[in-house]
Amino acid sequence: MSLLVNTSRRVPVGRLVVYGVVLVVGLCLMFAPFLFPDVRAQEVAARICVFIVLVASYDLLIGYTGIVSFAHTMFFGLGAYGTAIALRTMGPGFDAILLGGSLGVLAALVLAVLIGLLSLRVKAIFFAMITLAAASVMMVLASQLSEFTGGEDGMTYTIPRFFSPANTLVEDADGKALRIFGVALNGRLALYYFVFLSSLFLFLAMLRIVASPLGTVLEAIRENEMRAEAIGYRVVSYRTAIFCIAAVIAALAGILRAVWLRYTGPDVTLSFDIMLDVLLMVVIGGMGTMMGAVIGVVIMTLAQFYLKDLMEAGASATADMPLLPDMLNPDRWLLWLGIVFILLVYFFPAGIAGTLMGKGGHK
C-alpha cells in the first residue's frame, strides 16, 4: 500500500535510475558481440549473463525469503558437472547436453528436497551451517571421484559442432561466414546468443515468480515467520519450494556455464570462492531486488576483470613505500572487497539498488 502512495506522490528518481541502468546493461549484453568484439569482452559478457541468473536465484533465497544457504554453488556445480560428464562420455551432441543437463538438474532437485525437508524447519543459523557442510562434502567428492569428475584439474570436452567458430550460420557469396558490422555470423555467435537468451528467459521467469502470489508469501515469511504461519501458510513447505526452485535455476545456470566454457572444474563451479562472489554480488547489488542482482553482478565482474590491472599499476607506482605495495598487490584484491563488503553491510544493508529504490531489503 505504502508503495502505491510513494509512487503517485513524487517521481521515484532512484527507481528510474535503477531500471535505466538495468535496461542499459540488458541492451549492452544483447548487442555485446557487436559492441565489444574482442574475445576477453565476450568472456566477460557471457560470465555476466550466467552470473545474473545464478545471483538472482540466490537472491530468491537470501533476499526474498531470508534463507541463508551456502550450498548454492553445489547446485550450480551439479548442473555443470552433469553436462560436462555427459559431453565427455557421449561425445559432443545436443542429446548429451540435454541428458547430462537434465540429470544434473534432477540431482540438484533431489538434494534440495532432502536438505530442505531435513533442515529448513530449524533456525536460519543451523541451516547456514548445514548447507556449508553439505557444499564442502560435495567439493571433496568432486575432487576425490577423479575418474568421473577429473578431480582438481577438472575436465575439458568438445561441445556440439553447431557452436564452434568453424560453423557458419549464414554463408556469403564466397562460402565464408557472412559478416554484419564486421562480426562473423559463426557458431561462436550462436553460442553467445544461446547463453544470452537462456539467461534472459530464466531471469524473466524469476521476475514472474517474484511478482506472483508465491513471491508475496515468501516476503511475508521473511518479514515475520510466526505471523505467516499463523495466517495459515505452511512456512516449511514454502521454504522448501523456493529452495528447490532456486536450486533448479542454479543448476540450469551451471549447464550454460559448462557449455560456454568447454571446461568444468572445481575452481569455476564448486569452489567456495564462487560462493563468496555470489554472496558479495547479492549484497552489493541489493538483497530482495531482482534488479540488484544485475547491478551487483556487473560491478563485481567488471571489477574482477579490470580492477586487478588497476591495482597492478598502483602497486608498481608505490613500490618504494612500505606495506602499501603489499596491500595493492593484485592478489590482495579480496582484502579490499572484504572491507567494502563489511562497510556495505553496516551502512547500506539494502545494497546499491535497494538504497536507490528506497525500499530496504531487510530491516
Binding site: I62, G66, V68, L118, S119, R121, V122, K123, A124, I125, F126, A128, M129, I130, L132, A133, A134, S136, V137, V140, L141, Q144, L145, F272, L276, L279, V283, D326, M327, N329, D331, R332, L334, L335, L337, G338, I339, F341, I342, V345, Y346, P349, H362
Partner: protein, 332 residues
C-alpha cells in the same frame, strides 16, 4: 519394548555411550587390536583439539545468539603465530633439555591464546556489536571479516605451506608391545581434557559460570535482575576466541605443515561438532568432537575416500534423531 531399551540406554549414560558404541563397532570392523588402539588414540586427540575450537563457538552462540563465521580466522591466526614463535625460538625447540622444550611450547601456545583473546575483543567490538539480534547481517559481516582475516594472513605469512617445528620432547612415541602411541597425541588429549575440566569447573562452580549458564537459559531475565550481560559476553567471546587460537596452535603442531587454508578446513568439522553436540553446551561439544574425531580416524582407515562424507552422514543421522543436537543447552 522400545521404551525399556531407551530407559536402559539413558540409565547407562544416554548419548554419552555413543563414542563407546562407535569404538566397539570399529573394533569389530578393524579386527587388529594394535591398529585399533592407535586409531582410537589419534581420534581422541583429534577430538580434543576440535573440542578446543568448537566449545568457544558453541558458548558464544548459546549466550548471545551470535554465530561467528569468522571463528576459523582465530584458528588460523593461532596456528601461524604458534608456528612463528616456535620457529623463532630455534634451539629451545629442537634441542636442549625437556624443560626448555616445554617452556618454548608453552610460550607458543600462550602467544597464540593471548592473541586470540585480544583479537576476539577487537572483533567483538568492531565487527559483531553493531549487528546483534540480526542473524542475516551477522552471517554476512562475519563472513566478510573472515575474508579480510584470511587475506591478512596471506599478506603477512605468504601463501606457501609453513613448516612447524615440533618440540623434541613431544616427538617419538610410547611403545607397549606392538602398540605405539605418539607422545604428541597424548599431550593434545591431556591438554584438551584439562581445558574441559577447567571450563566445567568454571561454569558449574563459580558465580560467573552461574551467570553464563543463566544467560544461556534466558538472557532477558538475567538482564532484568540487573547483571551487565554484555560485559559477560565480551569475556565469553574473548575466551572462545582464545580457545580457538589455542586449538589452532595445537593443530599446527599436530600437522607439522600449515597453509592459510587451515582454518577453513577445520571449520567444517567444527560446525559439524557444534551441530551434533547441540548449541550452547560444552558437554555437547566434547561429545560431538570425540565422535567426529573417532569417526574421522576409523573411516579414514577403513574406507579412505569416505572420510569427510562420513562425518556429514553422522551429522544427518543425528539431526534426524535429535533435531537440536545431542545435548543442547538452548531450545529451539
Amino acid at each position: 519394548m522400545t521404551k525399556t531399551i531407551s530407559d536402559t540406554f539413558e540409565r547407562f549414560g544416554g548419548v554419552f555411550l555413543l563414542p563407546v558404541i562407535l569404538g566397539l563397532v570399529a573394533f569389530l570392523l578393524i579386527g587388529r587390536p594394535s591398529t585399533w588402539v592407535t586409531l582410537t588414540v589419534a581420534g581422541l586427540a583429534m577430538g580434543m583439539m576440535i573440542f578446543l575450537m568448537a566449545s568457544g563457538l558453541s558458548l558464544i552462540f548459546g549466550l548471545m545468539d551470535v554465530l561467528n563465521f569468522g571463528h576459523s580466522a582465530f584458528v588460523s591466526f593461532g596456528a601461524f603465530i604458534a608456528a612463528s614463535v616456535l620457529a623463532s625460538l630455534g634451539v629451545w625447540v629442537t634441542g636442549g633439555s625437556a624443560a626448555m622444550n616445554i617452556l618454548a611450547l608453552m610460550a607458543a601456545i600462550a602467544a597464540a591464546t593471548a592473541f586470540g583473546a585480544l583479537a576476539g575483543w577487537a572483533f567483538e567490538r568492531i565487527i559483531v556489536k553493531p549487528v546483534y539480534k540480526d542473524h542475516l547481517r551477522q552471517i554476512l559481516i562475519t563472513m566478510g571479516a573472515l575474508i579480510v582475516a584470511e587475506e591478512i594472513i596471506l599478506m603477512v605469512w605468504g601463501g606457501s605451506p609453513l613448516p612447524v617445528p615440533r618440540p623434541a620432547v613431544l616427538t617419538g612415541s610410547f611403545v607397549f608391545g606392538n602398540i605405539s602411541i605418539e607422545v604428541y597425541r597424548v599431550f593434545a588429549f591431556l591438554l584438551g581434557l584439562a581445558v574441559y575440566i577447567a571450563m566445567h569447573f568454571a561454569l558449574n562452580r563459580t558465580r560467573v559460570g552461574l551467570l553464563i549458564r543463566a544467560g544461556v537459559e534466558n538472557r532477558e531475565m538475567v538482564e532484568a535482575l540487573g547483571f551487565r550481560i554484555d560485559r559477560l559476553f565480551i569475556a565469553v567471546f574473548m575466551a572462545g576466541s582464545a580457545l580457538a587460537a589455542m586449538g589452532g596452535a595445537m593443530w599446527a603442531g599436530y600437522q607439522g605443515l600449515i597453509t592459510p587454508a587451515i582454518g577453513s578446513e577445520m571449520m567444517i568439522l567444527v560446525f559439524i561438532v557444534v551441530i551434533i553436540g547441540g548449541l550452547g553446551s560444552i558437554e555437547g561439544s566434547l561429545l560431538g568432537a570425540i565422535l567426529v574425531g573417532l569417526m574421522a580416524n576409523y573411516v579414514a582407515f577403513l574406507f579412505p575416500k569416505m572420510s569427510l562424507a562420513s562425518n556429514m552422514i553422522l551429522m544427518m543421522a543425528i539431526l534426524l534423531w535429535r533435531p537440536y543436537g545431542l545435548k543442547p543447552a538452548v531450545k529451539g
